[in-house]
């Protein structure tokens, strides 16, 4: 599709959506949001680029192949479950690291956040792989009537 309005709009919308997705990921620990929904919003931004600028824009935006993003995401999510072993706690127990930033400000970093980042990347990679496959693969054994 080559629509000037869509391309111009996408240039503004896609970065905003990506920002929103990170915001959703960040607040998702205690409030509605999280890695899954954040990942879907980010994927929408990337898909929008794909619609406006063609499928190769999806690959360009992700830099690495979508499957690699998904694979890294799965590994991060699994790794998030493991630090509990060092603390002698059961599998997947949430652990917090509270960084003191001075002036009474505390930055809580946690394994659930790490897990959510893993989910975020898995969703982006997985859905982008699906979209890219649908955009690029030739249809199977030629088109048959009715389907």
């Amino acid at each position: 599709m080559s629509s000037l309005i869509l391309r111009a709009g996408t240039r503004i919308l896609a970065p905003m959506m990506l920002l929103l997705s990170v915001f959703l990921l960040w607040r998702g620990h205690n409030l509605p949001g999280g890695g899954f929904i954040g990942g879907l919003v980010a994927t929408s931004a990337i898909a929008l680029q794909g619609i406006a600028f063609g499928p190769e824009a999806i690959r360009r935006t992700l830099v690495v192949p979508p499957a690699v993003v998904a694979g890294v995401g799965v590994l991060i999510a699994v790794v998030a479950a493991l630090p509990a072993a060092l603390a002698g706690l059961p599998f997947f127990t949430g652990l917090w690291l509270k960084l003191d930033l001075g002036d009474g400000a505390v930055l809580p970093l946690s394994t659930p956040l790490l897990f959510d980042i893993g989910v975020y990347l898995t969703v982006i990679g997985g859905v982008c792989a699906l979209i890219a496959a649908l955009e690029e693969e030739p249809s199977l054994e030629g088109g048959e009537e009715g389907g």
Binding site: V68, G71, V74, V78, L82, A84, F91, T93, G94, L140
Partner: protein, 499 residues
Amino acid sequence: MGGWLAALVLVVPMLSAGATTLAHAAPRLQARLSLAGAFALLAVSVALLAVVLSDGMVVLQSGNWAAPFGIAFAVDTLGAVMTVIAAVTGVACLAFGLGEIGETERRAWFHPLSHVLLLGVCGAFLTGDLFNLYVWFEVMLIASFGLMTVGGTKAQIDGAVKYVALNLVATLMFLLAVALIYGLTGTLNFADIARSVPAVANTGVLTAAATLLLAAFGMKAAVFPLFFWLPAAYHTPLVSVSAVFAGLLTKVGVYALIRAFTLLFTHDPDWTHTLLLWIAGLTMVTGVLGAAAQSEMRRILSWHIISQIGYMVMGLALATPLGIVGSVFYLVHHIIVKANLFLIAGVAARLTGSMELKRIGGLYRSAPWLGVLFFIPAFSLAGFPPLSGFWAKLVLVRAALEIGSWWIAAAALVTGLLTIYSMTKIWGEAFWKPHPAGEAAARPLAEAPPAMLAPIAALAAGTVVIGLFAQPFYVVAERAARELLDPAAYIATVLGEVR
């Protein structure tokens, strides 16, 4: 740290799936990672079984949220044994896959999907939570849909669509039952449901929920009359994929049935267990008759999966200690034998050019050792002494005779006899008769890659070992049955009232 071992059984396939995804661009590395992952899964599941056998049940309260509020994983002897067998099947079929798959199949994510499938299967065997079981079923379903279509041919997609559509019906019934059970008992933790069931006043709805679960799991297990998706789908995918499916997937359904009708729903055995007994008998007989009508190797074997499921359900339906022992023993024996038969059919087709019995032959002359390798699982399936199937059937038939269920014992014996008919048909057509396209059309065994033959030989050796040294396996099965028939200990361990 038994809990962490149980967690590792889930972590290892997850890591393998992630790692093989990342190695997608490097075929050799991906194959090595995949096989290493399967062996690692085997190692941790064997370690888990060892812990369960020496220290008793392992409970993992994931996230340190105590049952019934968090998701509990509860590993008793049956769960641990099933995980080991799943890992064995995984190793065998992935090794076979290395010899079988080409670049198209590899590019279609054969390795990551296989590990996701193993993850789903192991999760289902370990979980102690009804909704979590549903999640693992979905993981399996999604992975198996991907695996079935890995070759991308029209027949495969046709089979996969039927498979998924019919399995989704089972999934819906499962969810409906979950909702009913949650409404009645206020919990989805297995142990907590089992504790709450006797106090439920509305036994009519409870039985309805139990029957819905029976139908849902029954469909996954492919019992009569819900088996029609299986023969429609299992002959289409890659051989290594269909061998994993044949070995494991329906058995997850049987496992879920065993769990549901020993732990959760024993409040109305006159209805549920009688129903199960009828289903068992009809499944055995229809399955074996269906097989007799087929002439394609994998179709014959697919129908035999159905008839064999009947045996496993039969032991559960009898609900006597010996019956449950028989079911557990049968599960283990069957997974090894059935996966192996599919692999052998794959090699036979590779050497002769087809799965269709009419179009092949001459294998005994060209590849006599394949004949020996076929003979072992085939006659174990039919129940020839001293192979593993003989002991499995012996225990079940004895269990039936003990409580005077003559007709189910008769059905089991007749089914065994008809199984021999099908196996001799494959023997006579594929091995004994000359190849219709001339002697040279049947290739020698040396032309099959070693990656394909090694798992077949190993699984056949396993069948012989279980047959000749049945006692230790029987003892473990007996222990699993004892635990299944004493839900009080399971409930106490999971909910932490003892210790």
